[in-house]
Amino acid sequence: MNPRQFLNPWVLFGAAVLLTAAALHNDYYLTLINFIGIHTLLVVGLNLLMGYAGQISLGHAAFFGLGAYTSGILTATYGVDPWLAMLAGMLVCGLTAFLIGVPALKLRGYYLAMATLGFGIILYIVFNEAESWTGGPSGLTGIPDLSLFGFKLDTPKRLFLLIWPVLGGIMALSANLVDSRTGRALRALHEGEAAAQSLGVNTSRLKLMIFVWSALYASLAGSLYAHTLNFIAAASFGFMFSIKLVTMVVLGGMASIWGSFLGAAVLTVLPEMLTMFHDYEVIIFGVILMVVMIFLPRGLVRGIMDLWEFRRYKKEGGIIG
């Protein structure tokens, strides 16, 4: 291995995870980091849909909830194996996304946002009202811990050692994806749908595929969330959380895998640090969303990269379009 390969982001990622596991023993911080991991998983998925494919979903919390409830209900109520339940959650989510996606993705821009918003609200109502299944507003308790190779994942440290390697794998998959034939087609669809079609990209099929794909991420995150907290309640899967996810995508950067991590980290840690402003959380998110959209419309990571790249080529007399 030559020295440059040590600077590979994935090597750094692995090293950071190992180092954190070895050095950090504070349960509060580990739990916070686990939530950052779960949120990043959600945001990477949403970013593939929003940032890369350019399709807005304001109902992503619903897929998160669908995964969490499928896992929670199957394990707590029916005693199904948690890993099987996790797969079942992904199946349910994938299927739901497919059924919702067929009509919804025919819509564009605001209409797609409205359709996914409506879907999110409907599922939120279901989570709240189907009390015999979901426990309604008071929540679903008794979700068992995951276990792996005979180890019960019952401490934040052990969960950390599951969540973060899984996240690393998913991020690597996503980075591969955006740099593949399908990834290029996604970005092309975002920047010019007609041009993409004129090159043989079946844009409606591609939109549906990535919608389902990102719902699978959300479902996985939901299952991990349910087993981390051992308790879920409908309030976690409402419209506000969908907006929070969108804010994370926008802040970190549309079309940036590492930006997803940054956005998720900042907006998971920030509310913890600003607990005294809790009542103003919505306003703070709104302001962040506005400021970023106005000044760095492609988010922190992309925006700064663009500034650098465009400045570099501007010297050649190119027109910035």
């Binding site: 591969n176 593949s180 920047e191 010019g192 079609q197 004129s198 043989g200 990209v201 465009f310 190119g318």
Partner: protein, 281 residues
């Protein structure tokens, strides 16, 4: 079928190979049959029929609003005709969605350049290889071994097309940072990467300076020599007369003349439609 019948007739004769070549190059690759389309009360195209011979450069000219771009959108599936047929390589393609038409081997450029601005110049052309490669979502995410070979050949082929249009040294910059003239060339490279049988160029010379237009002219002729069939909408008459084998003239949605550049220039109706336009340049 018509092709086979003609070919058989010549088979066994001493000059059969030569005859075959002649047939190949005179067989229409694209035929428009009585195409009509109206937008509300406006008859954008009115029973337009003409054929484009394989391996030729066919130009479509006409004053603004004559229906040229509408015609392009009909051929490429962005619009469907209300009546008439579009036949490409013996298959009716009218009403098929754009991506299917593209997959059959028809590529196009746009009147207003439509690049993927935030992707690099190279990536833009790599998207052109979409129809000729097959790695799906899962294969790409897992980076299966066979996809690496495919990626490599996509990249090599894209670089070849970039070199062909003279953008080889700009591969890594974002497409948006190119000046307009180079953007047009990039769009052509992207279309070429799809290895089309038929290439539609929608006003490729608009916004180009004299030097760039000359380069475009050479490029179009080089592409024809490569065996491509080209359908060209262009306002630059100098360029059109120079490269076109056949010209179709549209006026208010009607086909008023077809023929060689020389024939079309002498056509009374064409002269009337273009009255006041500087023809001979």
């Amino acid at each position: 079928m018509a092709f086979h019948a003609k070919a058989e007739k010549y088979l066994g004769e001493p000059l059969c190979l030569g005859a075959l070549v002649v047939i190949l190059f005179t067989m229409p690759i694209l035929e428009l049959q009585d195409i009509s389309l109206a937008f509300g009360g406006l008859q954008a195209l009115d029973k337009v029929s003409f054929a484009v011979g394989a391996g030729t450069v066919q130009a479509v000219i006409g004053p603004n609003g004559a229906g040229k771009t509408t015609l392009f959108n009909l051929i490429t599936g962005f619009l469907s005709p209300q009546a008439g047929k579009v036949v490409f390589q013996d298959q009716e393609i009218q009403g098929r969605p754009p991506h299917q038409v593209a997959q059959m081997g028809i590529a196009r450029t746009f009147q207003l350049v439509q690049l993927f601005d935030h992707m690099t110049v190279l990536e833009n052309v790599m998207v052109g290889r979409h129809r000729l490669s097959r790695a799906g979502l899962l294969a790409g995410a897992l980076r299966l071994p066979w996809t690496r070979g495919e990626e490599k050949s996509i990249k090599e082929r894209a670089l070849e097309e970039l070199a062909f249009v003279g953008l080889g040294d700009r591969a890594q910059q974002p497409a948006a940072t190119l000046p307009l003239g180079l953007k047009r060339l990039l769009e052509i490279a992207r279309a070429l990467a799809a290895e089309p049988t038929l290439l539609l160029l929608d006003e490729p010379a608009s916004g180009l300076d004299a030097v760039e237009t000359e380069r475009l002219q050479e490029m179009i002729l080089a592409l024809r020599d490569r065996g491509l069939t080209i359908l060209l909408v262009e306002h630059d008459m100098g360029l059109t007369m120079e490269v076109a084998d056949q010209i179709a003239v549209l006026n208010y949605g009607q086909l008023i003349a077809t023929g060689t550049p020389r024939e079309v220039q002498r056509n009374e109706e064409v002269i009337a439609a273009y009255l006041g336009t500087d023809w001979q340049t």
